[in-house]
Symmetry: C2
Subunit: 130 residues, 2 copies
DNA sequence: TACGCTGTATCGTAACAGAGGTACAGTTCT
DNA sequence: AGAACTGTACCTCTGTTACGATACAGCGTA
């Protein structure tokens, strides 16, 4: 599987995993009916406790993005809205990719880019220095 | 002051505050020698415990971005590298702003945009579906 | 000097994240 | 039926976050 967790960001691991699974569904990388790796398997790959994966899975089940069938596994259930949005999300990925590349070439660190991004998302309009 | 914390993201409040102060210094919104609000004042504004602000401040002092003078206050100390980068960061902000605006108009939610951003930052190159 | 501001330090408490382990229950396949 | 897989449910332990409150220490000014 194509997930990667970063223990240094301060964000809980199970949340990071949830976001990445969500995003995979939004881009179409995960499609309706796809089966996810087993809790123990994925936990071993990501080098985290099985509990952490289990928590992510069950939260996503509560959000109706996964269906957990005891004995058989975890399966993706993508709703219509998400499905109609995949194109937009994929386009967004490509645009973001281009911009991030440029910013990196300007010598910006990922951390700096992330801070600028979060700031922009938080304060839709803002004056830099009054 | 122009800070805002979000208790729902899972990211520690003191880290969020640190990032925002850092970013303010990177854009030039906070300049060398500027004085930050007092611990208690800021804590009250943000509706958090003074301990939380104190932790953010002292971590930033350890990172040499703040100078804490007992009795007088917290002051910004911006190094040369950061100073030479403000233009790039401000430009980045503007570019990100434009892109985010577009994506919102496409009907994407902030959460979806953030997931796409984080995914792109994490996997510089990636195939969407193999 | 005395007051009011600053940051510093330390309690105690609560909640949560995460690791690690164990046992149980349903499904699938042989 | 039985083995091997799945998720489910507990428990204990450790570390971190955050709150609340208290006391202390340095600085500046009236």
């Amino acid at each position: 599987m194509f997930f990667k967790l970063n223990p240094t960001t301060g964000q809980p691991l199970y949340l990071q995993l949830m976001q990445q699974i969500r995003h995979a569904a939004e881009t179409g990388a995960l499609q309706d009916g796809d089966q996810l790796p087993g809790i123990r398997t994925l936990a071993e790959e990501l080098v985290v406790s099985p509990n952490t994966v289990a928590k992510a899975y069950s939260e996503l089940e509560h959000d109706e993005l996964l269906e957990l069938r005891q004995g058989s596994g975890a399966f993706v259930t993508v709703k219509r809205r998400t499905r109609s949005l995949t194109d937009h999300v994929q386009l967004a990925r490509r645009r973001l990719r281009g911009l991030i590349e440029q910013l990196r070439e300007d010598g910006l660190l990922d951390e700096e880019i992330r801070r600028a991004f979060e700031a922009e998302l938080l304060h839709p309009a803002e004056v830099v220095r009054e």
